[in-house]
């Protein structure tokens, strides 16, 4: 099993090298290697380290965050359909971001507003679903789906009343756009820290996947664990949407793809989701900015175009 993680790690590095080398100026592998070693020409250094590297890291961090958040929510709700997008967290973030854009705020405020929107959406969904005490997965999922539909309506309303010159930026945000990232570090650091924090809990999550009663009977303190996952998943989602807008789908499909191949041991699935989610988004972003360069495509479209057939193939092939 460590071998599959090692393989995914290699794949992640390869995708990053690919992302660094490709673009308006293509860098040869030899030049790339020189820059990695701290040598190479000034042009290449600026191009790779100041322009392409931050964007690549931002893409990797965002993809990893979304995939880990999805994997956590699926275990929390014991429902394979759960992901940040379906539960309306991305919708809340989108409303926050669009509101700031509509008022003509700067990128810092837009990011902050998206973060606040995601957290608000989380509190709203989990608070409403909690209701008078029962916190059943199906109720939570239903609340999330309905709240997400509500956010969708608000987003459409905002787009309808927005002056047309502001629309392209908003649409790009909605479809996900890594070039938006101000700095890759929040995403990368939050991803690394959360994977380290979650690993000692991973076996607890395996037991929780069997249902809360069974988990409690096997010595898991279910409520504290559920709250930890919930807060962590919300934080991961909020960081991801703040970095690169609303990119659907990664949280749903990456963990499932990995489960189909690797089984459902969270000690493998969580770090593997971080690596595979990151790799998927790095590849998607590279394609998004090179396919019809100098024009850029929204990265969310590419993740879907890459992900849907792969996922359907794996699902079809599985038992």
């Amino acid at each position: 099993m460590t071998r599959s993680l090692l393989g995914l790690g290699m794949l992640a590095l390869a995708s990053m090298a690919f992302a660094l080398a490709l673009g308006s100026v293509t860098v040869s592998p030899a030049d790339l290697w020189q820059v990695i070693q701290g040598e190479g020409s000034t042009l290449h250094r600026t191009l790779l380290l100041d322009l392409r590297l931050p964007r690549t890291l931002a893409a990797f961090g965002t993809g990893g965050l979304l995939a880990v958040a999805g994997a956590l929510m699926q275990v929390l709700l014991r429902n394979p359909l759960a992901d940040p997008y379906v539960l309306g967290l991305s919708g809340g973030a989108a409303v926050g971001a669009l509101l700031a854009m509509l008022m003509g705020m700067g990128t810092l405020i837009i990011s902050g507003s998206a973060f606040a929107g995601a957290m608000l959406a989380t509190v709203l969904v989990f608070g409403l679903a909690h209701g008078t005490g029962s916190w059943t997965p199906s109720r939570l999922l239903l609340t999330g789906v309905v709240v997400a539909a509500g956010w969708g309506a608000v987003i459409t309303l905002m787009l309808a009343i927005t002056p047309s010159y502001k629309l392209p930026g908003m649409l790009y945000w909605l479809m996900g756009d890594v070039s938006y990232a101000r700095s890759p570090w929040p995403a990368v650091v939050v991803l690394a820290v959360s994977v380290v924090v979650i690993m000692p809990l991973a076996r607890n999550l395996n037991v929780l996947a069997r249902g809360p009663m069974q988990a409690a009977a096997l010595g898991v303190s279910v409520r504290p664990l559920e709250w930890t996952i919930y807060v962590l998943a919300s934080l991961l989602t909020a960081t991801a949407v703040t970095t690169a807008g609303s990119i659907g789908f990664v949280g749903l499909i990456v963990p499932h793809m990995l489960r189909l191949i690797l089984g459902n041991d969270q000690r493998i699935i969580l770090p593997a989701s971080a690596l595979a989610g990151g790799t998927l988004l790095v590849l998607a972003d590279t394609l998004a900015r090179t396919m019809i360069a100098p024009e850029q495509l929204p990265v969310g479209v590419i993740t879907a175009l890459l992900g849907v057939p792969t996922f359907l193939y794996l699902l079809h092939r599985s038992r």
Partner: protein, 259 residues
């Protein structure tokens, strides 16, 4: 296994929604004993079992594990001494038989540990005891009900607690495996473990249980050694069903009358 665990209930009223308090339970469930809980549907057998495991709060009174209230113990410490086979199980995500048995080791491993050869060996041994080791790589959701029931019992054996709580352990089992499971539980009690289970089959209870608890729908309860409790009149009142009693293989056999 240094000291064996004892389970006590002190003035326990289980929380069956919408039911008056009924009779408070003051039972002492001790090592070596095999308890059978009998009662009609809705009498609160499962609720009692979950309350004894600390999974549901009691309405009144308390459950004590080695003279300490369950509510004062950590879940992990409880799980090392007391295990439960549920009547209903969720399998939202596919898992293999071996993986399922291995989660029984969960309370014994620290957060950073992963299952070692020893844990694997215990799980395989438990699966062999329950005749399901040949299925160890199969996905749980491809098994029959009886096979799944045996995997659940094997998971409890892998957990290896002092007190075994089982909610209708013979559900879905064929005759041979019913006998096999009951004999296994008797062997466990013989080795100093405590067995406490809900049963629907009076005849299994009559042959294998040392102690019986009768739970009535209105909250009444009585308990004691099996030979005192299995009175046809009391059982007829319990199930509201006329019974014929015969004796076979050294134990009473209760047959419901068909009118």
């Amino acid at each position: 296994m240094s000291t064996l665990s004892t389970l006590n209930t002190r003035d326990l009223i289980i929380n069956v929604p919408g039911r008056p308090d009924g009779f408070a339970l003051n039972m002492s469930i001790e090592p070596g004993q095999i308890w059978g809980v009998l009662g009609p549907n809705g009498a609160g057998k499962t609720t009692l079992l979950h309350t004894l495991a600390g999974l549901l709060p009691a309405r009144r009174g308390q459950v004590q594990l080695n003279s300490r209230p369950l509510t004062a113990l950590k879940r992990r410490d409880i799980a090392r001494q007391l295990g439960l086979v549920f009547q209903e199980r969720q399998d939202s995500f596919p898992a293999t038989v071996l993986e399922t048995a291995l989660i029984g080791r969960h309370p014994w491993l620290s957060p950073w540990d992963s299952e070692q050869g020893e844990d694997q060996r215990r799980a395989e041994q438990a699966l062999t005891t329950l005749d399901v080791n040949h299925l160890s790589d199969r996905l749980l959701n491809t098994l029959s009900g009886g096979e799944r029931q045996r995997v659940a019992i094997a998971t409890l054996m892998t957990q290896n607690p002092d007190i075994l709580l089982l909610d209708e352990p013979t559900n879905h089992l064929d005759l041979h495996h019913q006998v096999k499971v009951m004999n296994l539980l008797r062997d466990q009690a013989g080795a100093g473990k405590t067995v406490f289970m809900c049963l629907h089959d009076l005849n299994l209870a009559a042959r294998w249980c040392t102690h019986i608890l009768l739970l009535y729908t209105n909250g009444d309860a009585c308990w004691g050694p099996a030979k005192n409790m299995l009175e046809p009149a009391a059982l007829e009142r319990l199930y509201n069903q006329k019974l014929i009693t015969v004796e076979a293989d050294g134990a009473p056999v209760f047959v419901p009358v068909s009118f």
